[in-house]
Amino acid sequence: MSKTLFDKVWDSHVVRKIEDGPDVFFIDRHFIHEVTSPVAFLGLKERGVKVLYPERTFATADHNTPTINQHLPVQDALSANQLKALEDNATEYGISHWGLGHQKNGIVHVVGPENGITLPGATIVCGDSHTSTHGAFGAIAFGIGTSEVEMVLSTQCIMQPKPKKMRINVNGQLSKGVGPKDVALYIIAQLTTSGGTGYFVEYAGDVFENMTMEGRMTVCNLSIEMGARGGMIAPDQTTFDFLEGRLYAPKGEAWTKAVEYWKTLKTDPDAVFDAELNINAADIEPMITYGTNPGMGIGISKHIPSADQVEGGEETYKKSLAYMGFHEDDVMIGKPIDYVFLGSCTNGRIEDFRAFAEIVKGRKKADNVTAWLVPGSHVVEAQIKEEGILDILTEAGFVLRQPGCSACLAMNDDKVPAGKYAVSTSNRNFEGRQGPGSRTLLASPIMAAAAAVTGKLTDPRELF
């Protein structure tokens, strides 16, 4: 029977099917961080059970970590306590741990691929919804809750009903200034934040085939923002080239054998999806969000839609615009902004810093803007320095911070004050996401760069 890429990977990991119930689903790789794992370890202790396969779990500290002075003790006592709990649990159960200050430390969804832990055909979970990122490699990867973290630690399995399948095809030529983030925000605006719920997505078409691994990760990362559990892209030569030689990637004969297998991981020509969406690449322009969920995005040159043009309740829509301090029919270009955040598991990779630097090169940061530039990992940080990007940023008046999740969810000190506008390359513009009362405008790295140097929302295409 013809199978999709998703079917092939899913079906090969089902330990058993429960009648009128979920599948017992085997997990190859498990990432943990300090926020969603402590209670899972408590559960293990209460039950008196061990971690079944400690070598399949990888711990890194990211959500809570400060992005300056990482060599000093963490000031926030609660954060310090969580970081210590992660370290203690990892030590007790024999799990590899890349804590604060470790050269391999960084955002879990950046360091996993960077070290070849993420592989095609693998099943990957983490107590974090942006685990969907790893689908860029042709893995099935999705976020889980803490009860499930405990399940994976103790049995390497979770219990999941198999999701339905959706394929999103984007074909044609992307316009200049339009990148992976814009493609993703455009898709989410089409589907809304719930349009993908119940589905696992495969991204297909020449736009994704021509994308770098960093770009594919940005797209797959945002799958959850349309409600989908995850998204994946068939592995190809771009995938193999990225992975070859990385720390945990197979070596020698095992590599050759693995690539042979990975080449079979594609959707059969006559396989059927439960839903399919076709998008013309040329229709996408640089995107910006104007509301309080990632589905509320428009092209930068557009006006904010009126309530009668959008799906869903008028009351919720008006509440959202009121929170943002925006009005129906407002023009986005020219709106003043206060903060710029470049970073996160969505856009904290080297390519994102290259794109940002391309725009700010030879320009200066606007005086009214506070900018937080946060690499996704120490590896990214090192590359920024090696490639001379740091010099460009410094010359333009920017400061590079240390790796972590930072202002994406504002668990550390990087909080946008109430009422202030932040152009952010992260993934969520929910109320208060970047600090109580903060107002987030999601965008690509070049849109963020254009805002950072002009102090207002600017069409980045004007700055090339």
Binding site: D20, L78, Q82, G145, S147, G313, L409
Partner: protein, 198 residues
């Protein structure tokens, strides 16, 4: 962690007719720093419920004594966003045992089922009927019958059935969890793992 068994729940309900309620609203990230599962109910809907100076916002439904009960009725696409199970814990710890909506986000729904909060998905029309009934009489009672998979407005008898898979239903009625199940088939799991490429 053990949770209350769920059979038939009869209670008044608290209405929250807002769409796309995300888990950052249910529990903001800055309250996720605990290493134990304690006190999350205090911060349920923190920023909608309290001002910056921690005084209650009078216009938020949880601060309105007119509404109470063990059932929360939310707008469409309830629980979107972050996978934080803390959101489900906050709902449970506050005292809710069921959430009713015309549409749930996937991860939140799964988290609820794992910790003893029953997500009851109804048609948009029935959700509207419930909101109107509560508006007319805040003390009106709903009956959620898990064995029969029905939700009923007791005053009028209006009823709808809801879906839940047999395995999860049995778990909730008996207070079982998935880990008990998985522990019992560990041998099968290990045999399976031995055959995988990585």
């Amino acid at each position: 962690m053990a949770y209350d068994k769920f059979n038939i729940l009869t209670s008044s309900a608290v209405p929250l007719p807002i769409e796309n309620v995300d888990t950052d609203q249910i529990i903001p990230a800055r309250f996720l720093k605990a290493t134990k599962r304690e006190g999350f109910g205090d911060n349920l809907f923190r920023d909608w419920r309290y001002n910056g100076d921690d005084t209650p916002k009078a216009d938020f439904v949880l601060n309105n004594p007119t509404y109470s009960g063990k059932i929360l009725v939310g707008g469409k696409n309830f629980g979107s966003g972050s996978s934080r199970e803390h959101a489900a814990w906050a709902v449970y710890d506050y005292g809710f045992r069921a959430v009713v909506s015309s549409f749930f986000a996937d991860i939140f729904k799964g988290n609820c089922l794992n910790i003893g909060v029953l997500p009851v998905q109804v048609s948009p029309e029935f959700a509207e009927t419930i909101f109107k009934a509560i508006e007319a009489d805040p003390k009106t009672e709903l009956e959620i019958n898990l064995p029969n998979q029905t939700i009923t407005l007791l005053a009028t008898g209006q009823q709808e059935s809801f879906a839940i898979n047999g395995y999860k239903k049995n778990n909730m009625i008996n207070g079982f969890d998935d880990i008990d199940y998985l522990q019992n088939i560990k041998g099968d799991i290990q045999a399976f793992a031995d055959k995988l490429p990585y």
